[in-house]
Amino acid sequence: MTQLNSAFTLFLSLLVEAIPFLLLGVLFSGLLQFFVDERRLLAILPKNPLLGAFTGSCIGFLFPVCECGNVPVARRLLMQGAPVSVAIGFLLAAPTINPIVFWATWTAFRDQPEIVFLRVGFSLAIATVIGFIFSVQTDLRPLLQPGVASAITMRSQSADSTPSLLQSGTYFLGQSAKPLITDPSELQAAMMATVSKPMSFRLRLLLENTVQEMRELGAVLILGSAIAALVQVFVPRDLILSLGQSPITSILAMILLAGVVSICSTVDSFFALSFASTFTSGSLVAFLVFGPMIDLKGVGLMLSIFKPRAIFYLFALAAQLTFILTLFINLYIS
């Protein structure tokens, strides 16, 4: 019973901590949608996949969101037609590559500045590589959730004008033969040319968008936090920590811990600091690099963009790259 109550307290604390950050992310995503001209943004983004992935990874500096907030922004980027490499690069790097996280990590690891730079460097490298790999798949739609995929379909269709009867949607008798779009993401996609509309109209849409994304992402955040809280309470922490002190198992243990604990990237450096004396530097960097990219709570949010298969690819790539890079640190540098 006490454990159940602890789990509930933990669950609430994760939510209370994360919801303001989620709200910030949703707002940034809304602002991106309604106040940034998509065509201009896309014109700036490089078409080269490697350069695109790198640019995407750096966009985080403009949007200081943690991993609860990057998902709505990445989803928006995809739906607005940004190259895959840019969106994936942003999704993976934004939680780490931003001024707030940089400052927090610096505060925590003032004595070991190399950890700060390794964290930023590795995150950039891994996000760029994964963004590049995903850009090989020219049509990302099979990997996306139907809502996001159809938004992209809509965009390409408006170019090659599919007959309106073949489009999905609702028809009303006695009205025009054009289908009425009823899917929210399609609706959003249709509203995309809103930058030219009057301000009051845009603000109204911003409100609708905020409500819709809060509801959708808030619900998955709840599921993710519930799992994280249950695992933390019912799987003893010793079990994870006792996995080892050796260069290899310490990294694996920290990657696992990062995935399970699911704390925000803005504060995880303080958490990592607590292991500074008992764990290898490489494993600390692994925690700081991998945690913001993929954790239990974040996987829930990512399910609003990707199908499980794609999340598994992301997870496998990120874990392996983190492992290899930090193992190099453990074996050759520290």
């Binding site: 509930f8 307290t9 303001p20 109204r204 959708e216 500074a276």
Partner: protein
């Protein structure tokens, strides 16, 4: 017909769910329960989020009211990518109501044992600037003692110093009946990363049975070095133990 009423009801569910979260965040703030959940640094952010959620929900409600009065068709029902319509809002609303009904409780001895109570804690998660050595040793809190030990771990250096510390009781599984651990949780961000720190207390009379686990105590006494569990450790020899109510902010930072 039933379908139409559900359709017109769903947007209102959004309004209520978002408002419920705004209320929950502000309620925790006003009833000072936020201290149990997150680090004080983030309280401002949470309160701002609560106010903003209420604002968003109010605005959305106003628009809904207007559009229903002017009998305009409201926005089409929206599909969700992960949940069927309404389920997401229902989940949000349920959790918010559960949060209002079930009081979050500060972690207690069971969690401390699960998370490994250590005295020679090798960790300071908090910024080193916040470290302050006070000249009067009685003014040091439990955390101050642990931090001092981190800087200079030799227990003999503190023998004979007076101390007055507060914390809750944990029964150490591997120490004799004469000892208990005076414990506090330290958090850096939210309760998810709370970790316990503790100081062994040696009782001069009786055994620990008279102090139940999780009870809060203020212990006054003198420091001495003991060999506990094959480790030389700084121990507080208790002169007086006083039961105190659980502080409104049970964590330390």
């Amino acid at each position: 017909m039933a379908r139409t009423s559900i359709r017109s009801f769903l947007p209102w569910l959004d309004v209520v769910a978002i408002a419920a979260w705004g209320v929950l965040l502000l309620y925790y703030w006003l009833s000072e329960k936020l201290f149990l959940l997150i680090h004080p640094n983030y309280i401002g952010l949470t309160v701002a989020a609560g106010i903003f959620l209420l604002f968003v929900s109010g605005l959305k409600g106003l628009f809904l009211l207007r559009s229903s009065r002017s009998r305009q068709p409201s926005a089409p029902i929206q599909h969700m990518t992960l949940f069927p319509p309404g389920l997401g809002s229902l989940l949000l609303l349920t959790v918010a109501i559960a949060g209002l009904l079930i009081t979050p409780r500060a972690f207690a001895s069971q969690t401390a044992l699960d998370r490994g109570v250590t005295d020679a804690i090798t960790l300071t998660r908090v910024k080193p600037q916040s470290f302050r050595a006070s000249t009067r040793t009685e003014d040091k809190t439990l955390i101050d003692w642990i931090r001092t030990l981190q800087v200079y771990p030799e227990p003999d250096a503190y023998t004979g110093q007076k101390a007055k510390v507060q914390g809750f009781v944990v029964y150490p599984p591997n120490l004799p009946e004469q000892y208990l651990l005076l414990t506090r949780f330290v958090i850096t961000c939210c309760a998810a990363d709370a970790y316990p720190v503790s100081l062994p207390v040696k009782l001069t009379t009786g055994d620990r049975k008279s102090y139940s686990p999780d009870g809060w105590l203020e212990v006054e006494g003198q420091m001495l070095t003991e060999t506990l569990d094959n480790k030389r450790q700084l121990t507080l020899q208790a002169k007086s133990l006083k039961s105190i109510p659980e502080p409104k902010n049970p964590y330390n930072y």
